[in-house]
Symmetry: C2
Subunit: 494 residues, 2 copies
């Protein structure tokens, strides 16, 4: 006979008490594998409780793997070969994931696993003034408007927006993007557009389509930090092409062409990340002509196309793409909110078809309710309205940032590039013997942080660089932050 004590005055339900005590008896081997448990009726009578109490307890013990039971028969204590308990289990080091993972994954993990761009998740809780992360200012999110749209599409259209969606994305959103693209001089229709789970997903799909191990890929130097690990995963040879004042160095491209044609170029013509440089119309025309000659695709990352708040910025390379070699990657992350992982690719229809097949086998489709909500949000003019609003806000913020830098940082060793829009200013720090770690710790001690330039280069550089992003800061923070930056440089160069 199994003896347990149930306390009817205790808050814990009786079935739970039963479970806990039986579990303990099994764990300390008082009840052994194969031991028969009383029938629910017997046990209920013995304990003076309702039979369903015992039934529920047995069910849960069965679900947890402690007992075996067959309908119409007795329950037995199970022979558990397994059932680890997280807390009590000893660490098992028998699996070598590094050996099981493929070579490129290991490279990515070892080189970039701990880095994060520009900061690891562990560093998320920085409390000072953060010039480091390129995160849009959460305080100006048009959240209420977007919430209305979310609400509306789920209320009115749940059976569609909660069901599987197509791998090319939600048609009304693709249509809106096609429409909006015209404003930027792009003439594409909805068949030439697919929705991606943010621009990063778009970039990854392009690599999935085009990458070949050992093939050369041209990237700007410096470039978006996440590109280097992504290309490393695909086993490509990364060829860094220096940034000139007016965009990627075209002469360097021609020289590299002679050493071996690349399978594609990855470029950010507007407010290049991290330098903030915007290439000229003339530069863009020469660039596309170079790649057109060999029919080599250009991935045009237009993540901040909408951030032309100072007015004149040339049209996308894609707008001149008569040969259809340009794969244009767009994003809502830097102008709306990055949490909703929505971007798009605009490219030749045949290329979109191939990319959408890869998308289908990678994650079926991008989340549908958010696509539908965004389409609704855009259709009602909320997107355009918000863009106007952030243009006004960031024109002021950027002017203030540039002006403050000019006024407060006059040391000859510190120079920067004035951007045409966007969120970032690229600082160059000459003639310092301090390492990035040491420079960062000076910044930290003044309550600011910047993104270290090293993460944007494939190879170490002689000079030190920092990316100063104003995306998440208001005017007071920018002003105070640049004060602190000035003090930091004073300390660095004193």
């Amino acid at each position: 006979m199994i003896i347990i004590n149930l306390d009817k005055s205790c808050k814990t339900p009786l079935f739970r008490q039963t479970i806990d005590q039986l579990k303990k008896m099994i764990e300390n081997n008082t009840l052994k594998p194969g031991d028969k448990l009383p029938s629910t009726r017997q046990f209920a009578d013995q304990l003076g409780v309702n039979r369903t109490t015992i039934y529920k307890a047995y069910q849960e013990l069965w679900a947890m793997g402690f007992i075996e039971s067959r309908s119409g028969s007795y329950s037995f204590v199970r022979q558990r070969r397994e059932l680890k308990e997280t807390c009590t289990m000893k660490p098992v080091n028998s699996i070598n994931w590094s050996k099981l993972s493929n070579e490129n994954t290991c490279k990515v993990y070892e080189l970039f696993g701990e880095i994060g761009y520009p900061f690891s998740e562990a560093e998320n809780d920085f409390e000072g003034i953060d010039f480091g992360r390129l995160h849009p200012d959460t305080r100006i999110f048009p959240a209420a408007e977007f919430r209305k749209s979310l609400n509306k599409v789920v209320a009115e259209n749940a059976q569609t927006v909660l069901d599987y969606g197509g791998s090319k994305g939600y048609l009304p959103l693709r249509e809106y993007i096609a429409h909006r693209s015209r404003l930027h001089g792009l003439s594409v229709n909805s068949n030439e557009i697919m929705i991606t789970s943010g621009a990063q997903n778009g970039i990854d799909l392009c690599m999935k389509l085009l990458a070949r191990p050992g093939a050369r890929v041209f990237v700007e130097s410096p470039t978006y930090g996440m590109i280097i690990p992504t290309l490393t995963y695909y086993g490509c040879e990364i060829v860094p092409i220096p940034m000139a004042e007016d965009g990627i160095d075209l002469g360097a491209i021609e020289r590299e062409f002679k050493k071996g044609l690349p399978i594609f170029l990855y470029t950010m013509p507007n407010f290049q990340n991290p330098t903030g440089i915007t290439s000229t119309q003339c530069h863009r025309e020469r660039l596309i002509a170079l790649f057109e000659k060999y029919r080599i695709p250009i991935i045009e990352d237009a993540f901040e196309e909408e951030m032309k708040y100072f007015g004149k910025v040339p049209m996308p390379i894609k707008s001149m793409d008569i040969s259809r070699i340009v794969i244009y990657v767009g994003s809502f992350s830097k102008v709306l909110f990055p949490g909703i992982r929505l971007g798009w690719i605009a490219a030749d229809k045949e290329c979109i078809n191939r990319l959408s097949i890869l998308k289908r086998f990678s994650d079926i489709s991008t989340s549908l309710p958010e696509q539908a909500a965004l389409a609704d949000f855009c259709k009602h003019g909320a997107y355009e309205h918000h863009i106007k609003r952030i243009h006004k806000i960031f024109r002021k913020r950027m002017l203030l940032a540039v002006q403050s830098l000019q006024e407060k940082i006059k040391h000859k060793n510190v120079t920067w590039i004035e951007p045409n829009g966007g969120y970032t200013i690229w600082l160059k720090v000459k003639d310092t013997k301090l390492s990035y770690t040491e420079l960062n710790s000076v910044f930290h001690s003044h309550g600011i942080r910047l993104a270290a330039g090293k993460d944007f280069f494939l190879h170490p550089q002689k000079e030190k660089y920092f990316r100063l992003a104003i995306a998440s800061l208001d005017e007071a923070e920018i002003e105070e932050g640049i004060n602190r930056l000035a003090k930091s440089f004073y300390r660095i160069f004193k």
Copy 2:
């Protein structure tokens, strides 16, 4: 002087009329590249309109690439080398995407690009009774509850849930999943869980981690249709292991081991897709022992873990995973709604770390508002409540389906496997000379469709198979559908 006619009584705004007429003049070459436009003041005076009308028109024409203007100077008609118009542009076939794409992408595109599983997007509009797609019944979506949660998290927490999220996923959701997993005998904590954009994203990330070109991968035969193209992309040698009555054929695994060890096994122990077979506890223990011996990972796809509505189903293979070789892939798609692309992976912490790095460089993270909404939905018991509800519903529906088959389809050439739960019944059709296309057209002519078995096999089979999914059908539809199926078979075998 440029002459245009503005109609002030017309509904079209004056600036729009100005744009349209200037655009037409540029397009028909009345205005040629380099031609100077009048200043905004001059033109406004000439036309008798407000100067801002002309200013707006010039701005838009500039944005569309028709004119060039510098501040403080005149505007000129632009030399457009490019600017294609979707409608009028002649097709350019200069780019050979098949040549530009890598070899594996081409294979996937050519073999599987037009297929879709089990139907292409073009076939989405089938109007009969659809046993073909494994889509949950949209009529029982708990949409109102989920909408409340979405609303709440965006209203209360916009600054967090609309900002970038971590690549492992939203912690409260991971915690809920860890908690819920215990019900299924899994003891994992939130560090051993990462959120993916649906189970397919989870599977793809596992391949990204483990796959090596040419390496052997064991899959069940038949298997989930999307696995074959996914593994084809990664260049693996797919080794199909037949399904026996009690699960994947363990003897066949041992024989294949001798020909060469695989890098992993992909298996669905519950309600296997497409056969509906659930392996026994004993089978699972023998299976894990086989792979443990060589420390070979098992990907356990538990996409319908929650669909155990007939009661007793053995615990996950992962629950016996003392060596931590099992990578468990879970999904909300088949019990809640597939539109919100949310699944998860439960695995050894080190494995999760590696997978989350790959996730970061693939799409940064899964959409955050939906993760937060789902966490809220689950926390309030709505998930458990819904599972109870669909258990009740599908227990009845499956009983009805099986009973109807037994009553109405008595031809010796048509047999099926009775499932232990889930949504699918696997039919075998012997001794027919009709092809899948011909059989399908008989079904279609009776207003039903089924998923053709061929898409679940790597190699053609002698017998014909069909997957009958009741996921999206109610009782009346199931009954009527099986009537029609019976009539179809009567026609096929008459």
